[in-house]
């Protein structure tokens, strides 16, 4: 078995990347993926522009690539009004997700290790996961106000469940043969935890980071839609109510790009650690 075929259930997309043979006989040519991706843009963007220019769809409904580009140049370069929004969102995102990792990873490790703690906390975590965060926004605002605290809390609330559950799965994934080995050498509980359980759960903690990133971004938008006067979510919402579809689109595109960039960053990190990842079959 080669290193490339190792993967956690959550990262199955990595499995066949750049791996010759096994599946299919024809290897994809280099850059083929990029080429076809670009062809997609080359077809869709001009079509969109033409449809709007020809008046088939109103500008205010769908905007157009050129209008969005103009808005981007205006708000990002000429008057720079978007930057404070981006800064506010980034701050909420980083603090909220950071807090979710700082609390969620240790909690996930503890829940994975202690069965009774799992039974104790499971209903609460499930409730957090099942409840749409948006429903809690009025309550959160009531308690924490309209400042940064409530935004951070909302991001934390969105991200905490996936972080806890992924980390917990990592603890469970520690293989019996490695635990036996530690026991055979009389490793202390603490050293077993350090030398076996933490490394075994590491790929899962990276998965936690990746999933937490996505959820945290949702949290940022939710928080800013309903309880903010700045941030990218506010920018989108405000632009929508003032019929500036170009700005709505710009905000959405920036969010999407940010999400993709974060996801790719974590995936790179995952690939770096893939070599010593334990087999999980």
């Amino acid at each position: 078995m080669t290193a490339q075929t190792r993967s956690t259930p959550q990262t199955r997309s990595l499995v066949h990347r750049g791996h010759p043979g096994r599946r299919g006989h024809k290897l994809p040519r280099r850059g083929e993926r990029l080429l076809y991706g670009l062809i997609g843009f080359a077809v869709v963007l001009p079509l969109w522009e033409i449809v709007v220019q020809a008046g088939l769809i109103k500008r205010v409904t769908l905007s157009s690539p050129s209008l969005i580009a103009t808005a981007a140049v205006n708000d990002l370069v000429i008057n720079g009004t978007l930057w404070p929004h981006l800064f506010a969102s980034s701050q909420q995102f980083v603090l909220g997700l950071g807090l979710a990792l700082l609390t969620g990873v240790p909690l996930g490790l503890a829940i994975g290790l202690f069965r009774r703690l799992n039974y104790f906390l499971d209903p609460w975590l499930s409730a957090i996961y099942a409840t749409p965060t948006i429903a809690l926004v009025p309550l959160i605002v009531l308690v924490l106000g309209l400042g940064l605290e409530s935004k951070i809390f909302i991001v934390w609330l969105e991200a905490i469940f996936v972080v806890v559950v992924s980390t917990m799965a990592g603890v469970r994934a520690a293989e019996a043969r490695y635990l036996d080995l530690a026991k055979s050498f009389r490793a202390s509980r603490w050293f077993t935890f350090r030398s076996v359980i933490i490394p075994s759960s590491f790929p899962f903690i990276l998965t936690a980071l990746r999933l937490g990133t996505t959820r945290g971004l949702v949290g940022v938008v939710v928080a800013e839609f309903f309880a903010a006067n700045k941030g990218i979510g506010f920018y989108i919402n405000f632009s929508g109510t003032t019929l500036r579809t170009d700005r709505v689109m710009l905000g959405v595109i920036l969010l999407g790009l940010f999400g993709v960039a974060m996801g790719e960053g974590v995936r790179r990190l995952e690939r770096r650690f893939e070599k010593w990842r334990p087999d999980i079959n």
Partner: protein
């Protein structure tokens, strides 16, 4: 316990409850065994006869239901160390850190543990692979590291649980010869588990034949072949006579549908 004995087991019995069927299973019963210091002893038996279970009890991975096992207290290192069937090297540690693992478990600082592990890496001919990760090594090399890891804690008894079972036939032969070389240099008592009759004869001073479950010791056969042994010895008439003798004891133990019918 007699001071020349490294291991003394009396009336060991192991019963457990099968998780799947909730049945009581008797894995081994009435196992008596004395192993003298420095001896290479093997237990052969059909698959599932409880020989690995016995080894794990000796290793302290779980307690026996009944009976006593005494291991001579270690003069320097530890009483026993296990060489596992699959190498069980940690994929997140280098070979050097894997081999040093047992010492670090005892609280030896990492640098010192590495320094003490180094001679054993040389002993098993892995010099130059200290900084590699397990996935970069072949199966045979991983088993060498597995062996070095057990030797590094300087055990009185080396417990080996079918360590070559997963290797291809040629590598297995080479590793058997290597193990004899290492054994003669390291001067350890060895308790070796295998289902391969020729492996047991080739390596051992004594071969203990275990019955099908519940496992009992059926026979204790001293192997009177001169050492050092070359691999060619496996084709000698004496060797084949031993193999026939052991096969005659084991074959009635195999159920007709048993997948290990071709063992040996």
């Amino acid at each position: 316990m007699d001071s020349s004995l490294a291991l003394r087991a009396r009336d060991v019995r192991m019963e457990y409850i099968d998780q799947a069927t909730a049945e009581r299973l008797l894995a081994i019963e009435r196992v008596d065994l004395d192993i003298a210091e420095g001896q290479f002893a093997s237990i052969v038996g059909p698959s599932g006869c409880g020989k690995s279970t016995f080894l794990k009890i000796v290793n302290g991975l779980f307690p026996a239901s009944e009976g006593t096992i005494e291991v001579r207290p270690a003069a320097r290192g530890v009483a026993h160390a296990m060489v596992f069937q699959d190498s069980s090297l940690f994929p997140w540690y280098t070979i050097l850190d894997n081999v040093a693992y047992g010492l670090v478990c005892q609280g030896v600082p990492r640098k010192e543990a590495q320094a003490r592990a180094k001679p054993y890496i040389d002993l098993v001919s892995l010099t130059g692979f200290e900084r590699k990760f397990p996935y970069q090594l072949s199966g045979g090399m991983q088993q060498r590291a597995n062996l070095a890891r057990a030797l590094t804690v300087d055990p009185e008894i080396l417990l080996m649980d079918e360590p070559f079972a997963a290797l291809d036939a040629q590598t297995r032969e080479l590793m058997q010869a290597e193990l004899l070389r290492i054994w003669s240099e390291a001067n350890k008592t060895v308790l070796f588990i295998t289902h391969q009759i020729d492996e047991a004869i080739y390596l051992s001073d004594r071969v203990l034949v275990m019955s099908a479950r519940p496992g009992r010791i059926l026979a204790d056969i001293p192997i009177d072949l001169s050492r050092p042994r070359q691999l060619q010895i496996k084709r000698s008439p004496e060797f084949i006579a031993y193999a026939d003798q052991i096969w005659a004891l084991i074959s009635p133990q195999l159920r007709p549908e048993s997948p290990v019918g071709a063992a040996g």
